[in-house]
């Protein structure tokens, strides 16, 4: 058998453009470099459905998208350009608005949807706590469940779960997975700092992780 060289980027671009043009995709994806690391951006025709950090395994993310949204998952830099540019500009501090359409298709439960939609009332520059957010959405006893729902936010940054902090101080967890244990809180601090909302004195706890 002849040894197979990888397909050329030009061929892959043409294929992706044709697939998108013909409406054959359930989701498109590409990565973008930002000050908080490489982000994987996945979107449907309705909006961004998944943003993943470098500490999350890309193949698992895409397999999940394929299983729960649709298997026609295609890499396309063109089709994701607007969302990727907006994220990069926001995270580099060029823009203070992050106006990206969101598709909550990967949200598993109505409760989680309610929690994530409740974040709309937490604007850039302000923060809230898990308990306050639980009260705000009318589920004052569900503080812990609120934290869990935020940990499973499929579209971090755009749906700003980083603005929710534990009452006891520090920034709390971020990313909701084992891989995020160390990297997650660092990203969360960077996002809060960018937005001018890092709690005073938090830097002193930097080494503690949470």
């Amino acid at each position: 058998m002849t040894p197979a060289a990888p397909l050329s980027p030009a061929f892959l671009d043409r294929l992706a453009t044709a697939a998108v043009g013909e409406g054959l995709t359930d989701a498109v994806y590409a990565s973008v470099s930002t000050p908080v690391g490489r982000l994987l951006v996945v979107q449907t025709a309705h909006g961004v459905c998944r943003i993943a950090f470098a500490f999350e395994p890309e193949d698992r993310i895409l397999a999940d998208v394929a299983a729960r949204i649709g298997p026609r998952v295609v890499a396309s830099r063109d089709a994701t350009a607007a969302a990727r540019d907006a994220l990069a500009a926001y995270l580099e501090g060029e823009d203070t608005e992050l106006d990206v359409p969101v598709d909550l298709a990967l949200v598993r439960t109505p409760f989680q949807r309610t929690v994530l939609e409740g974040l709309r009332r937490v604007p850039r520059g302000s923060v809230t706590t898990y308990g306050e957010l639980a009260v705000a959405i009318g589920r004052p006893k569900a503080t812990r469940a609120t934290g869990t729902a935020l940990g499973r936010n499929p579209v971090p940054i755009v749906v700003p779960c980083h603005r929710v902090l534990p009452r006891g101080g520090g920034v709390g967890g971020y990313g909701g997975s084992v891989g995020s244990y160390l990297a997650g809180p660092r990203v969360k601090r960077a996002l809060l700092e960018l937005e001018g909302a890092l709690p005073a004195g938090d830097q002193l706890n930097f080494a503690n992780g949470s």
């Binding site: 060289a5 397909l7 054959l24 394929a66 298997p71 998952v73």
Partner: protein
């Protein structure tokens, strides 16, 4: 206990995993200038059918099959099929203006008339020169079935060319 069907992987993982060898296959069937067009059309055809697949098994064989079919369709679209006999009584294929390098293309056009399922077996046997166990693996069938398909193809061709 029942077996859970293997889910369909993200389509692009198939492009990345099998694209390079499929391009080689397309090149052997359709020639170097047409290969990328053939492969693109094959992937688009696969993408159109992908959501209707019931499980994620034998996807590599499935993609080989589609690429083979697209290569034959390309050959036909390029007009070579017109040179084929329309019925068994016509003259056998002998395009007078055939360039020596076009032998593969003529072969492709010829076996493009074979029943679905046998022509890819034939191509793998005589174009890719694979042994039956490898053909079986590509097509997702047993070596005996692969041999059967090739022999059906050969028999059909004999019937077409020398009635």
């Amino acid at each position: 206990m029942h077996v859970v069907a293997q889910p369909l992987p993200p389509f692009w993982s198939l492009v990345e995993a099998h694209g390079p060898e499929l391009l080689g296959h397309a090149r052997r069937l359709a020639g170097p200038t047409e290969a990328e067009d053939v492969l693109q059309e094959a992937f688009l055809r696969a993408l159109r059918a992908y959501p209707r697949l019931r499980h994620g098994e034998h996807l590599r064989a499935w993609l080989y099959r589609i690429t083979t079919n697209v290569a034959f369709d390309h050959a036909a679209r390029n007009g070579r099929r017109r040179e084929l006999p329309l019925d068994a009584a016509s003259e056998p294929v002998a395009p007078p203006d055939r360039a020596p390098a076009a032998e593969d293309d003529a072969f492709a056009a010829l076996i493009g008339t074979l029943p679905e399922g046998t022509r890819e077996a034939l191509a793998l046997r005589f174009v890719d020169d694979l042994p039956y166990d490898q053909i079986a693996r590509r097509l997702g069938c047993s070596p005996a079935a692969a041999r059967q398909r090739v022999s059906t193809a050969v028999r059909t061709l004999r019937g077409t060319l020398a009635p």
